[in-house]
C-alpha cells in the first residue's frame, strides 16, 4: 500500500464561499473598510445618476454642512458607546448647552463667551450624566431618559415662546472657517486619543469585557469619566455649530438628535454596544452616508413620500450587510 504525500494545500479543509466571506468579514479591518466602501459606492452611484452634478462644490459643501452637527455629536458619543453604555440624551444636552450659551450671549453680546459657555455646559452636563451612572449606580439608559426630560423642560422654560436670537451676520461670518478649524481639531484629537493612546484601549477593553478589564487594574469609573468628558466636548462643539448655523436657539433645539446619532453610528459600522471593534469615526461616516442619501435622492427627483421608504430600505440593507448574526445567542458583536 502506498501512502500518498499530501501538500499543505491539499491537507487544508475545503472552504466554502460562505466561509471565505466570513473570514473577510471577521478581518480586523473589515469594520473600517466596509462602511467607507459603502459610502464611496453610494457617492459615485449618485454622481452617475445625477450626471456628475453630485461632484459640484456646492453639493460637497452642503453634504459637509448637513452632516457636521450629527457627525460631531456621534464622534464624541462614540467614546461612551465604546464602553457599552448608551446615552441618547446627547441631543437634549446639546440643546440646553445652546440655550445657556445663547442666554450668556444675550446678556453680554460676546460671541467668544457664547462659544466657551456652550462647550463648558456640554462638558458639565455630560459629567452630570456620568456621575449619575458611576456614583449613584443608575443605569446609563435610565439616566438618559430622565436627563432628556429634565433638559428639554429646562430648555422650554428658559427659552419661552420666542427663540433666543444671536446676531445673524456674526454667525454667518464665523460659520465657515471657525467650523472647519474647530471640527478638524476635535476630530483629529479624538482619532489620536481613541486609536493611538492608552485611553482608547482602556475604553475598548471595558466595552469588550468589563469584568476582565477591571481585573487587569483598569479604573472603570475614571475611564468612564474620561469617556463622558470627550463626549461632552463634542456635544458642546456640536452646540456651537448648531447656533452658528441657525443664528438662534429655539426651545426644541436638539430634539430627536440622540436617535439620529445612534442611527449614524450604526450605519457607520459600529455597534452601539461598544467592544473591541469600535471606532470613533463611525458616526461621522454614518452621518455623511445619511446626508448623501437624502441629497442624492432629492436630486434624482425622488418624491418626498418615497424618500423615507427608500432610505429605510437602504438603511436596513447597510445594517444587514454590516452585521454579524452568530448562531448562538446575541452578543455584543451583533448590531
Amino acid at each position: 500500500m502506498t501512502v500518498k504525500d499530501l501538500s499543505n494545500e491539499e491537507r487544508a479543509p475545503k472552504l466554502t464561499l460562505g466561509d471565505r466571506i466570513n473570514i473577510i468579514k471577521n478581518h480586523r479591518f473589515f469594520p473600517i473598510i466596509f462602511p467607507l466602501t459603502m459610502l464611496v459606492v453610494l457617492f459615485f452611484l449618485f454622481v452617475a445618476l445625477t450626471g456628475g452634478k453630485f461632484l459640484s462644490t456646492t453639493v460637497i459643501k452642503g453634504i459637509f454642512n448637513q452632516s457636521l452637527i450629527i457627525g460631531t455629536l456621534a464622534t464624541g458619543v462614540a467614546f461612551i458607546y465604546t464602553t457599552g453604555n448608551v446615552d441618547f440624551s446627547v441631543g437634549s444636552v446639546m440643546g440646553l448647552a445652546c440655550v445657556i450659551g445663547a442666554l450668556v450671549y444675550q446678556s453680554t453680546g460676546s460671541m467668544v463667551l457664547l462659544i466657551i459657555v456652550t462647550i463648558i455646559c456640554g462638558i458639565l452636563l455630560m459629567m452630570v450624566n456620568c456621575t449619575m451612572g458611576v456614583t449613584f449606580h443608575i443605569m446609563p439608559a435610565m439616566v438618559a431618559i430622565v436627563a432628556q426630560s429634565i433638559y428639554s423642560a429646562l430648555c422650554q422654560t428658559l427659552v419661552g415662546a420666542n427663540p433666543l436670537k444671536v446676531d445673524f451676520k456674526t454667525c454667518q461670518a464665523l460659520e465657515g472657517n471657525l467650523r472647519y478649524v474647530l471640527f478638524g481639531a476635535y476630530f483629529i484629537a479624538c482619532l489620536i486619543l481613541y486609536h493611538r493612546t492608552e485611553i482608547g484601549r482602556k475604553l475598548r477593553f471595558i466595552g469588550g469585557n468589563e469584568n476582565c478589564a477591571v481585573q487587569t487594574g483598569i479604573n472603570k469609573s475614571k475611564t468612564l469619566y474620561l469617556a463622558f468628558l470627550f463626549a461632552g466636548i463634542g456635544v458642546g462643539i456640536a452646540g456651537v455649530f448648531q447656533t452658528l448655523r441657525t443664528a438662534n436657539v429655539a426651545q426644541n433645539v436638539g430634539n430627536g438628535m440622540g436617535m439620529n446619532v445612534m442611527l449614524a453610528t450604526v450605519l457607520g459600522g459600529m455597534s452601539i454596544f461598544g467592544g473591541t471593534k469600535s471606532n470613533c469615526y463611525a458616526g461621522l461616516i454614518g452621518a455623511i452616508t445619511v446626508t448623501i442619501l437624502d441629497k442624492g435622492l432629492l436630486m434624482m427627483g425622488v418624491s418626498s413620500t418615497m424618500i423615507q421608504g427608500v432610505r429605510g430600505v437602504i438603511f436596513l440593507l447597510l445594517v444587514f450587510l454590516n452585521s454579524e448574526r452568530p448562531k448562538t445567542l446575541p452578543t455584543k458583536q451583533q448590531f
Binding site: 445618476l49 436670537k165 441657525t246 433645539v253 434624482m300 427608500v310
Partner: protein, 425 residues
C-alpha cells in the same frame, strides 16, 4: 448556508438598487409630464422648478401637492419638488440647500419662521432662489421685510382679523344673553404669539364684552396671552375661562374636560384647530352631565370637521355649530403667483405700497352640513376653487395684476358667492 446568505444579500442589494432606479425613473417621469406641456398653453419657454417646504404631511399638503403638480405645473411649465415634514430651522436650511442642488429656482415655505425669515431669505439669495413664506410681517421679521430683498416675494397668510371677526359675528347673532351662560375659550398658542389664535381669541373676548357690556378685570391681551389657565373675571359676573395650549401638550385634554365638568361653562369657543381632538370628549360629557354644550371653533376641511358638523349630539344639535375653512387652492395659487411674478421679472407686483409685501386670503364660515358638503366638493381635482383664470389674474405676464393692490383685490373677489356661482353644489 453561506452561499444562501450571500444570495440573500445580493438579492436585497439588487432590490434596493432597483427601487432606487425605479424612484429615479418616477422623478424623471414627473419631470417628463411637466415637460410634456411645454408645447401646450404655457406662455413662457422658460421652465422653472419650485421647492415646497412643508411643515406637516396631511390632507391639506396632499391636496396642495395635487394642485401644484397636476394643475399648475403643466399650465405654467413648472416642476415642483416637495420636502418631507420639516420640524426645525436646521432641517429647513438643509432643504433649501438640497433644493438648490436639485435645480430649484424658488421656494414656497409653509414652515412658520417669523424669527428666522432673514436666515431663510438670505440663504435662498445665496443659493440663487426666490423665496416666499406662509406668514406675515411682525416685530421679529420687520427688518427683513423692510430690506426689500430682490429674491423675497414676501408673505401670504389668512386675513386674521377677518377670521376672528367671523367668530365674533356668529356670537353676536346667536348668543342669547338673557340666559345664564358660561364661556370656556381655548386660546391655543395665542400666548406664544400665534397670529391666528390671537385674533380669534381677541375677537371672542371682544364679542363677550359687547354682548354683555362687561368689563374684564384684566385686559383682553392679559387674558389670551396667559400661558396658564385664567379666569376672565368681570364686572357682570359672567363665567369666562381662558384655557391655553393645544391637544399635543400632555394633560391638555384632561384639563379641558375637568374645566367643563365643573358645570360652569356651556359655550366652548376654540381658537386652535381641535375639531378632531375634543369632539368625542364633549359628546360624552354632554351625555354624562345632561348638559348641552355649544361649540364653535377653528377648523379645516377633512373627515373630523365633516363628522363634527354632521353628527348630532344627545340634544339633537350639531356637535360643532360653526367653524371656519379655507380653500387650499386659493392659498397655493397666491403663493405660486407671487413667486412666478418675481421669477418672470415682475417683482414689484409683490410689493405692497406700505412695504408689508404680505397678501391675504379670507377664510369662510361654515354652519351647516349642507354648506360643508358643497364646499368640500369644490377644492378637488377638476373643481379647483382657484382655477387658471384666477391664477392668471394675479400674474402680470399673463395679463393679470400690475400692482399689488390689483393682486389683492383679485384675491378678495373670489369669495363664497363667486365660487358658488361658478361651481354650484
Amino acid at each position: 448556508m453561506s452561499l444562501k446568505n450571500l444570495m440573500k444579500k445580493a438579492l436585497s442589494f439588487g432590490l434596493a438598487a432597483a427601487m432606487l432606479t425605479a424612484c429615479s425613473g418616477g422623478g424623471s417621469a414627473s419631470g417628463g409630464e411637466s415637460g410634456g406641456s411645454e408645447g401646450g398653453s404655457s406662455a413662457s419657454d422658460q421652465k422653472y422648478k419650485i421647492g415646497i417646504l412643508e411643515v406637516q404631511l396631511n390632507d391639506e399638503s396632499t391636496n396642495r401637492a395635487e394642485y401644484f403638480r397636476n394643475y399648475i405645473g403643466p399650465e405654467y411649465n413648472v416642476e415642483f419638488m416637495f420636502s418631507e415634514a420639516i420640524s426645525d430651522l436646521d432641517a429647513a436650511l438643509s432643504f433649501l440647500e438640497n433644493a438648490a442642488d436639485a435645480g430649484c429656482d424658488a421656494i414656497i415655505n409653509y414652515y412658520p419662521v417669523k424669527d428666522n425669515t432673514e436666515q431663510l431669505v438670505q440663504k435662498a439669495a445665496e443659493l440663487g432662489m426666490v423665496f416666499v413664506e406662509n406668514g406675515g410681517r411682525g416685530k421679529a421679521n420687520d427688518d427683513t421685510y423692510a430690506a426689500k430683498y430682490d429674491n423675497f416675494a414676501g408673505g401670504f397668510q389668512a386675513d386674521q382679523p377677518n377670521t376672528g371677526a367671523l367668530f365674533k359675528k356668529w356670537m353676536e347673532e346667536n348668543i342669547d344673553t338673557s340666559g345664564e351662560h358660561g364661556y370656556l375659550i381655548a386660546t391655543g398658542g395665542a400666548y406664544q404669539g400665534n397670529d391666528q389664535q390671537t385674533q380669534i381669541s381677541a375677537n371672542m373676548l371682544s364679542a363677550l364684552e359687547e354682548l354683555y357690556g362687561l368689563k374684564f378685570d384684566l385686559t383682553k391681551e392679559e387674558l389670551y396671552q396667559s400661558s396658564s389657565p385664567i379666569d376672565g373675571t368681570n364686572d357682570k359676573g359672567i363665567e369666562v375661562y381662558c384655557y391655553p395650549g393645544t391637544p399635543t401638550a400632555n394633560g391638555w385634554l384632561e384639563g379641558l374636560t375637568a374645566a367643563l365638568q365643573t358645570g360652569k361653562y356651556d359655550y366652548i369657543l376654540t381658537a386652535p384647530n381641535v375639531i378632531g381632538s375634543i369632539g368625542t370628549a364633549v359628546n360624552e360629557l354632554e351625555t354624562a352631565m345632561n348638559k348641552d354644550f355649544t361649540w364653535i371653533g377653528f377648523g379645516t376641511f377633512g373627515d373630523a370637521l365633516k363628522t363634527a358638523i354632521s353628527t348630532k349630539d344627545s340634544f339633537g344639535n350639531q356637535t360643532v355649530a360653526m367653524s371656519t375653512v379655507k380653500f387650499t387652492s386659493i392659498v397655493s395659487a397666491m403663493a405660486f403667483a407671487k413667486v412666478y411674478n418675481t421669477l418672470t421679472g415682475h417683482h414689484d407686483v409683490n410689493l405692497v405700497s406700505d412695504g408689508t409685501s404680505v397678501n391675504l386670503f379670507r377664510m369662510n364660515a361654515v354652519t351647516s352640513p349642507e354648506q360643508l358638503e358643497a364646499m368640500s366638493s369644490w377644492d378637488q381635482p377638476d373643481r379647483w376653487v382657484a382655477d387658471i383664470d384666477f391664477v392668471n389674474s394675479m400674474i402680470t405676464e399673463r395679463g393679470g395684476a400690475t400692482t399689488n393692490e390689483e393682486f389683492q383685490n383679485n384675491i378678495y373677489k373670489l369669495d363664497y358667492d363667486a365660487i358658488y356661482a361658478r361651481l354650484g353644489k
